[in-house]
Symmetry: C2
Subunit: 455 residues, 2 copies
């Protein structure tokens, strides 16, 4: 039996473990799930004969190393900042390793040692990062192999609520870490390149510089720019590309409404509000509006944000019960962002029967023999329920498939890496298709960036 150690039994581990358990007989696997909370681990393995749950505190060197020594390969599903201890042990004990997280500087620093031992440390192999890398590189390599020269790459991903569960005016519910949603876009200007010109969008304009995306069968979406669209420029071999843009997908209208929170300062996580525990939702809103001895919070809000009386933005605010003078925030020493998150969680938490949805959209522009072409490639994945979500499926399956392929010697090139080589993405994308994770490609006329202006 080959022992796979999975560290971290969180939300995204459900599909991953299901995949391993189903393969445990044919692939001769034993699955060990370690978590700081033994119950969480036990819940995921159930009573399966080829699986066991252990208590594992990643900061307890002795138990961590004991578990890693026993493993044939290690999958770390911990938050990204906790991988490094595991990674160092994997180097020491000569174990391959898989994570769905961005490669940290510390992780990258292990590259020489990993190569020296002939190990494979596969990272960024979830959905975003992960499926985005693989699906993009598959098309980019194909275009190049056919003599095309890449001139444009745009890529968008969104974690959303499935259409059947899309029941609020924002067309949004929290399907992943709510805190990341509240803080999205903060920490510096968004940077990208359009038709050869570098462009920068400050946080206060980020949600007002969106573009629309149509996905057949699912209608219209919008996207706002990610922080650094240029991060993978060299990695993808796109140094000469004229347009490079990455974004986050929301339903149309979300960003324009979210902008209200940005403008008022409600997403700020840098200071603590006075009396936050005792404050009502209405007080919270009023903190960001000028004092008036006569005017209502509602009128001050409409006036400050210039919201017309018949603008649907207003309905969105009312739906959140934002002006309620009786609902207390109840969080001590909270930042505006923490309070906003609390208010949004009242409205945007998934109901037990709700399903989620992952949408990914790539645009590839290229030149061949003097002509310009464009391929649009789109993927939509729906969740099954609140355990087997679209998010856990699209994160967990690529991790799981990569793990088995490394274990079986089908992926062998050593080093700290992400899945951008044919050796890696080809077999994984093929197997993902058998689970319904596939892209629909369409050739479209080349529009360049700003097609609304031209057509």
């Amino acid at each position: 039996m080959r022992n796979i150690l999975i560290i971290g039994a969180g939300k995204s581990a459900s599909y991953l473990i299901k995949y391993f358990l189903e393969k445990s007989h044919s692939e001769n696997l034993h699955i060990t799930v370690g978590d700081i909370n033994l119950e969480s681990a036990q819940k995921l393995v159930g009573t399966h004969e080829n699986a066991s749950a252990i208590e594992l505190d990643v900061f307890n060197q002795e138990s961590r190393q004991a578990a890693i020594k026993e493993a044939a390969i290690v999958v770390s599903m911990l938050p990204a900042r906790f991988h490094i201890e595991v990674a160092r042990d994997c180097v020491s004990f000569g174990k391959n390793m898989v994570t769905a997280s961005y490669i940290s500087d510390e992780m990258r620093a292990l590259d020489d040692a990993v190569k020296e031992k002939g190990l494979v440390f596969m990272n960024e192999i979830g959905v975003d990062p992960g499926i985005d890398h693989m699906s993009a590189m598959e098309v980019i390599d194909r275009i190049r192999d056919n003599g095309g020269k890449m001139i444009l790459f745009e890529s968008f991903t969104g974690g959303l609520v499935a259409p059947e569960s899309d029941t609020n005016l924002w067309n949004y519910k929290f399907t992943w870490n709510p805190r990341n949603v509240v803080l999205a876009g903060q920490g510096g200007a968004a940077k990208f390149i359009q038709e050869g010109t570098y462009k920068y969008i400050p946080y206060n304009r980020l949600f007002r510089r969106t573009e629309f995306l149509n996905v057949e069968g699912y209608g219209r979406f919008e996207a706002y720019a990610n922080r650094d669209s240029l991060k993978y420029r060299s990695v993808y071999g796109l140094d000469d590309v004229l347009t490079l843009y990455r974004g986050t997908i929301r339903r149309v209208g979300f960003s324009r409404a979210w902008q209200m929170f940005v403008i008022l300062g409600m997403t700020d996580d840098s200071y603590i509000m006075e009396n936050s525990a005792e404050m009502s939702y209405r007080d919270f809103v009023n903190s960001f509006l000028p004092y008036s001895p006569t005017d209502s919070v509602e009128l001050k809000m409409r006036h400050n944000l210039k919201i017309d009386q018949d603008d649907t933005l207003w309905e969105k605010l009312l739906e959140l019960d934002l002006f309620n003078p009786n609902k207390k925030v109840g969080l001590k020493d909270a930042t505006p962002a923490q309070i906003l998150q609390k208010i949004l969680m009242d409205s945007w938490t998934l109901a037990p029967e709700d399903k989620d949805m992952i949408v990914m959209y790539h645009k590839f522009g290229y030149e061949k023999e003097g002509e310009k072409y464009q391929i649009d490639s789109k993927m939509v994945i729906l969740g099954e329920d609140q355990t087997y979500t679209a998010m856990s499926k699209t994160v967990g399956l690529p991790v799981a498939i990569a793990t088995i392929k490394i274990l079986n010697g089908e992926i062998t090139t050593p080093g700290v890496q992400l899945p951008i080589t044919k050796e890696v993405y080809r077999p994984i994308l093929d197997e993902l298709e058998t689970f319904g994770i596939k892209f629909i490609e369409k050739k479209v006329p080349y529009f360049g960036y700003n097609h609304d202006t031209i057509v």
Copy 2:
């Protein structure tokens, strides 16, 4: 002869040194001016028989300590972060010390040692901080001594261009560090309290939440909120006050126009722009606007900022030559804020004959025997020329006067302090009046905060 050591012969030292030199005979003073640039020091002392210039590198312990040992009192006019080395030596050698800077945590930590040695370390005794503290405390103490209870304190200061030199559409020129002007308001939400309610303004709204101020003989001004209006709440004994607000004064219309730069992201100092040296002013503007194959930078700007064709905002932009495709930025690896500063310095640098102006405006609200009252107190100081500026006068004179009064044993209470006690502010304000630095007080009806709404 009593030796006064002045460290730092910068812009604000002119009036200070002039004051000392004029008093050198009657007060039996020798003035030693030390600067890392010997010429700067020499220029300020001239050929005066009671003065000498020395080269002094504050990081050279030997020469620094030698100079301090020789002094009867030390005045540090260095940038605030350099005071601490001087302060530690002053403790060691038992010398009193004066600075115009905010008390740093490091400086405050010396308080016990300073008291133990019976020394006076007077700080925050320039204009803002300085004259604002003294003039405010004088009125606050008077109100309290007469049985009044403070309910409102608002305080505004601005360094501006004098009316006779006010020749551009922005009604603004750089009379002090331009970098501070470009970065003003960044680093966190502005916080204050109005009629008992805490209020917060994020950076993206700061320049749109101004209030107007009228100063007789000088017309109308506007003010935007400072970062932390509550900083001196306890220091001034205003813990129970309902309204506490501090702001920065500009001419009307400045803030609404400045907001364009904020919204576009041009004041951002956190990242370096690609190809900044080769970029034209027009390219700089275009970096913050969406790509278009057809529309001009001008139209994109008008559209993005919703500037009507007849809005005077537009003239202000044209005056800066912001759309010039031929003027190069010429700064390597520059941030947006650095580039904006460069562009503004083309237009906003004082001409040789230009004069500056300092405006200060306090509002004091109080209750007495069930009635509410308000006192408005205003000060305007005009510069004489580009050496004897209003800024150097209002910073230098209080420092100089305090220095002599400490030297003469008229200010004796030991400790690291700021000028908020009667012992300190009373004689200094009296002497400042003889130099024309005085406030005009007026009793006005109590309006509370938001008087525009009520009257």
